[in-house]
């Protein structure tokens, strides 16, 4: 889960990492006052959880308090990349001599933390990795030991820093690592980390992504991911894994890998999946009811394909939940069910009584779903 820049900035301030002076504002008059207090040109930054907000016009420079107010009037309440701007961070404009990158993340393959630093900050790490891979310093950090001081010094040295700037960089490096561990982040970075003309360092942007699975230990952060569709939000509240796609055949299954494979097979036969919906293993009839009801809320569906491999899941439970959901929704959409496994006979009978036929091959069922959807 991404947290807002202003939230990450609070963590930086608590560790005494230098950040530009500034304030979070929710109205244009607050922005004007903030700009007056800063007595400098200011940068107004939309607090939205999407990448590329700068390019999309979400970050603007204002030279005077009245200009700041005008910009804020336009920004606050506007929609950028599909997300409404509710608040902006107003910070003093800092002119960097150089922009650095500094961050910590997790290397899946190596099973280590990793420190990444670069003398070429400002752009996305992804872009940097593509365009100037030799400008990236990367070092695996032992999770059981943590960051050694020398590793922080090594990073500073490797990206060409010296003197007081290098010392400050190492210190910030240790502080960001401490934050990364304390909040249990997937990613904690400052990009750009500016070197100013007097050689000091200022974290111009701070970005932190938390591990959803560790949120129970950090109740101060609520999962408020903004880049979710209303259905994705509802699914997440019901504990279902749902991803909106751009097609018209609804897909439900039990188990993430099986559902992904179902999307692939439907696509293979020329179908366009409308969604990914994993009910999970061991689905009870309630879960199935919720999943089917949710999928049928998609108004553009031409067919619904339910693919259940009942290993632990009982097919009769699935059938009962399905029938109940179909009755409740009064849908006219053709429903294709593939169901094999535990209590298969009983499940098939429940569905047959409700007028729903079942198949036992995923691929045959996918073909049928595509055929029913488009003819």
């Amino acid at each position: 889960m991404k947290i807002h820049e202003y939230q990450a900035r609070i963590l930086f301030e608590q560790k005494k990492i230098p950040v530009p002076r500034g304030k979070l504002c929710t109205t244009s008059s607050e922005v004007r006052t903030a700009a007056q207090e800063l007595e400098k040109p200011v940068v107004i930054k939309s607090q939205i959880l999407v990448a590329g907000r700068g390019k999309a016009g979400g970050i603007r420079l204002a030279r005077t308090p009245s200009e700041a107010e005008e910009i804020a009037k336009k920004l606050i309440g506007s929609v950028i990349k599909g997300i409404k701007v509710n608040s902006v961070l107003v910070v003093e404009s800092v002119e960097p001599k150089q922009e650095l990158y500094l961050g910590f993340t997790i290397d899946r393959g190596a099973r280590k933390f990793v420190l990444i630093a670069s003398s070429q900050g400002g752009m996305d790490l992804e872009e940097l990795a593509l365009t100037q891979p030799d400008k990236i310093f990367r070092r695996e950090i032992e999770p059981l030991i943590g960051l050694h001081d020398f590793e922080a010094r090594l990073a500073a040295d490797s990206i060409g820093l010296g003197g007081r700037t290098a010392t400050d960089f190492s210190s910030i490096c240790k502080k960001i690592f401490a934050i990364f561990c304390e909040v249990e982040a997937d990613l904690a970075e400052s990009n750009p980390l500016a070197v100013t003309y007097d050689g000091s360092l200022v974290a111009l942007d701070s970005r932190i992504t938390l591990d959803d699975n560790a949120l129970f230990r950090h109740p101060e952060y609520r999962n408020e991911s903004e880049d979710m569709s209303p259905l994705e939000r509802e699914a997440s509240q019901r504990g279902l894994a749902f991803v909106q796609l751009d097609g018209d055949i609804g897909i439900i299954g039990n188990g993430a890998g099986l559902v992904m494979a179902t999307l692939d097979v439907v696509s293979h036969y020329g179908g366009r999946p409308a969604n990914f919906l994993d009910m999970g293993g061991g689905s009870s009839s309630d879960v199935v009811f919720n999943a089917v009801s949710l999928a049928l809320k998609q108004t553009n569906l031409k067919a619904l394909f339910v693919n259940v491999l009942g290993g632990i899941t009982r097919c009769d439970d699935v059938a009962r939940g399905l029938v109940q959901a179909l009755k409740g929704s009064q849908t006219k959409v053709p429903v294709i069910v593939r169901m094999v496994g535990n209590n298969e006979e009983e499940g098939r009978k429940i569905l047959a009584d409700a007028g729903v036929a079942t198949l036992d091959s995923m691929e045959d069922a996918a073909k049928l779903a595509v055929q029913k959807a488009y003819t």
């Binding site: 990795a129 999770p143 059981l144 699975n213 894994a241």
Partner: protein
């Protein structure tokens, strides 16, 4: 021969008295798994399924049953990491973590600690291990699998069952099937399990079931390309149609920063000479073709 789980596997169930723990203890016993003891703090003295004594600590269980060598963990996510350390501390050498939603800072630490102690971790967020006809440490439906010589390794649960079922009906039984889990940080990964299958006398071919996210498939393919694998390997990759930046159910199934796409994995396998099935049903015929190819290469 099999890998990881066999006749001498003696299992401890951690979180044995919970709903999942009880259900699967019963299912594993029915399958023939030798479960000697369970652990749930505060529930010592209970007996589950009329045969499995429950202890308060792993230490007590191991003192009573020194032949214990493996553990399966059903403990809820906030306490799963502690359960892993407790098992390592008592000398168990194989730990299967079924628990879903384990925090990544926990799993990155206990997997590293386990490696330093020579302990094998499978999972978290996995279905476990089955050596058909012998034993299973996991939650997979035993009846879908059949005894044979195909080694299976997979990042997914139900997709493993789907493909095991296809293999079983096509007459390809399995030596061992390992569900390594869908999290970004796991114990043994695809490559390590394939290397175990390569050494196993009871395995004559390997089916790899990968999915989007991470680079485990690419690393495996690289090793196959430059290594000396004699056994046929066939792959399937789930998530060809997954959009970037979205988690597809599994915490680890996400295309991020341009890496982890199905296309990249398929390309890596193809360049290593590993055929990739487009549909699950094609796996048996691809295996058949690989057997014939290898026969030609290796002589009669």
């Amino acid at each position: 021969m099999t890998i990881l789980v066999g006749n001498d596997t003696k299992v401890l169930v951690q979180g044995a008295t919970g709903r999942e723990g009880r259900l699967h203890t019963a299912a594993m016993l029915r399958y023939g798994t030798k479960i000697l003891a369970g652990v749930t703090p505060g529930r010592g003295g209970e007996i589950i399924e009329n045969t499995v004594p429950v202890f308060n600590t792993v230490k007590q269980a191991v003192e009573k049953f020194p032949q214990l060598n493996s553990s399966i963990i059903f403990v809820p996510a906030p306490f799963a990491s502690d359960a892993v350390y407790e098992s390592i501390d008592s000398g168990l050498k194989l730990i299967v973590v079924i628990t879903e939603h384990v925090p990544i800072h926990d799993s990155i630490r206990f997997t590293n600690y386990a490696y330093s102690k020579g302990v094998t971790i499978i999972g978290p967020n996995c279905p476990g291990i089955i050596s058909p006809g012998l034993s299973k440490i996991g939650i997979m439906p035993g009846h879908i699998f059949s005894k044979g010589q195909v080694g299976m390794v997979s990042r997914s649960g139900t997709l493993t069952y789907e493909i095991a079922w296809i293999l079983t009906r096509a007459g390809y039984g399995q030596s061992t099937a390992v569900g390594i889990g869908g999290d970004p940080i796991i114990g043994k990964d695809l490559l390590e399990i394939v290397e175990m299958f390569a050494e196993d006398g009871g395995t004559n071919s390997i089916v790899v079931i990968g999915e989007i996210g991470g680079d485990a498939e690419e690393r495996l393919a690289g090793k196959i390309k430059h290594g000396n694998f004699k056994k046929p390997v066939v792959a399937f990759i789930a998530g060809r149609k997954a959009p970037p930046g979205k988690r597809m159910g599994h915490a680890g199934a996400i295309i991020s920063m341009g890496t982890g796409t199905a296309a990249s994995k398929i390309e890596a396998f193809k360049s290593a000479g590993v055929p990739v099935a487009e549909l699950p049903s094609q796996i048996p015929e691809l295996l058949q073709r690989e057997f014939e190819e290898k026969k030609k290469e290796n002589g009669p």
